[in-house]
Symmetry: C2
Subunit: 335 residues, 2 copies
DNA sequence: CTGTTAGCGCCTTCAA
DNA sequence: TTGAAGGCGCTAACAG
């Protein structure tokens, strides 16, 4: 692999001249520049970005760290991040957080391979983030409340969402509304539950316990819960699954038992994933402003990168999306 | 930011001792090691991965370059790549190909920031790939046929898939089967069309032209085609949309016109995206072995990384997935 | 067991 | 307009 040195030698100029010529610095004479470029081409010279990064101490790259790199859930967030980063001339890379101690997460967070990180990966622990963050590596967290220097959080108002959707059910006349939680340690699920409780109390309806039903945020988990539920003598009026995947699993279980939704029981989810619109019946759910979330996160990051470290946490509003799984008439309108 | 030098000074040892101690090299005495580690902790020392990469000339990172970083379509491929890479102790990062000349794509491909690249991004041109590839940067392409040194291709047999699904329709007795293409320059669409033509000829059925209907591989495009089609006096017996997104758009358009699927017209798609199973009626389609594709790509990459450069192109088989959009009875079985 | 030294490839004063 | 030299932070001989 040819280096600048090789080019310099072959073109009979100094190393520094090559450096300047390659970046079209006007300080080098046109003829020299052309010769250098030509030699570089012949030698198939390729710049070594790593060396440059080391020298300049900047990578012009930010990273979004996701739990599951392949998760369809994140599309819009990434898009939001990318759009902002691109507009700033920065590159965006994504990486999965799997791999524990020596995983990519740690590499990226603690080895200065990027200029900033956006974290949406519950399995990366707070401590890793706090120790990694610093004036030269701001971190934006999307999946937790975390107060530390150079760490900034952007959150969706999960509690509000839980409240909205529960209230929606209550206003439709449902009383016995059951909550299905995600994994026990998930803040999102916890907050959605709080919103649920708040609405239930307001309507003096009997709330279910936080962990009466646990679906682990997966379709499979929701399916199991659905099976259990449908084996009971009486069904609740409505079910609030704390994410759409579980709601879809429920739907499947109920459909297999001949339980009609929403006639026999209403179902609502959370997230507004794409399939929510296509299942039968289409799922009432809560939309999270994903694109906005990514975009806001990236903007905060660039603020920090620009030296502005006084940034407040951002909380984004959710939006109720009413479809047929909660009520009969087709009003796929948002509220 | 503390460096090894700082640690060395503070601990009264040589630079190299710090280096060794930090990596738990047994050559350094236990007591020294502990002291070094302690000082490093106090100074909040963080290794600089860039410097290490520069020195070792390896990043232990591979990259998968996608057109649209957020596309849900790629989940399984990424998973396949990641699983292999992790098992080899490598990290995987993903990057979008947007950004043209100075985009991430070029940075990653030509600036040696990674040890190998897997490309699934039609907008990166062949030349960029060929010039970037080399003994120290093998490239696997998933979206094109490309013969060049250090470039290896893994493809799904699109023609076979097109053939399978068309034959399926023909065997159900359909004769007038229309093909809906993706973007004009897409090889995938082209190959699926070839398979379609092959089957049609075998059954002496009248094939449609390659570009009679173009849906651009989007749901919206399929919807428009559906509108146009349903405005015609007579409907074809069946429609082969060259991807699922378009098929879903078609379904929506037909449903709005009261056209029944599959009774009035059968519809099949291609890709077996997740929603295909949930739309009404569930969509007959062709499954591409996505996970396998990623996994095979990564394995080829590691072969090359290990110095084995004699690698043949790999072609993977597709699988017909029959659901209700092509025939009435519920046989969601694969063939 | 520890220290010295020489780079990895590039950028950047400073001098010529 | 060009060249020489130093150093970014780290690793890896090779000495001691």
């Amino acid at each position: 692999m040819a280096t600048m040195k090789d080019v310099a030698k072959a073109a009979n100029v100094a190393l520094s001249t090559v450096s300047l010529a390659l970046r079209n610095n006007p300080r080098v004479k046109e003829s020299t520049r052309r010769r250098v470029l030509e030699v570089a081409r012949q030698l198939q010279y390729r710049p070594n970005g790593i060396a440059r990064d080391l020298k300049t101490r900047r990578t012009e790259t930010i990273c979004i760290l996701l739990h599951d790199l392949g998760g369809p859930f994140y599309s819009e967030i990434i898009r939001g991040v990318q759009d902002i980063a691109t507009s700033k001339g920065y590159n965006t890379i994504a990486s999965g957080s799997l791999g524990g101690r020596n995983g990519s997460a740690v590499r990226l967070l603690s080895e200065r391979r990027v200029d900033g990180v956006i974290v949406l990966a519950p399995d990366v622990d707070d401590e890793t983030i706090v120790t990694a963050a610093g004036p030269d590596l701001p971190v934006i967290v999307l999946d937790r409340e975390l107060t530390a220097d150079y760490v900034y959080s952007v959150r969706v108002d999960n509690e509000q969402g839980g409240y909205q959707v529960t209230k929606h059910l209550l206003e439709l006349g449902h009383r016995r509304i059951v909550f299905i939680s995600g994994p026990a340690d998930t803040l999102d699920s916890e907050l959605r539950y709080r919103g649920y409780v708040k609405a239930m109390k307001e309507f003096s309806a009997p709330e279910s316990k936080r962990f009466d039903y646990m679906g682990g945020f997966t379709e499979e988990g929701g399916y199991v819960v659905g099976k259990v539920m449908s084996a009971q003598p009486i069904l609740p009026d409505a079910v609030f699954a704390s994410n759409d995947e579980m709601a879809i699993g429920l739907l499947k279980a109920f459909s297999e038992k001949g339980i009609r939704v929403p006639d026999d029981v209403a179902i609502v989810g959370f997230d507004n994933i794409r399939i929510a619109e296509y299942v039968q019946p289409p799922l009432t759910t809560v939309r999270q402003p994903m694109y906005e979330m990514g975009s806001v996160a990236a903007q905060l990051l660039f603020q920090a990168l620009a030296g502005n470290f006084e940034l407040q946490p951002v909380r984004l509003a959710t939006e109720l999306v009413v479809r047929q799984s909660s009520q009969r008439r087709d009003t796929s309108v948002t509220a």
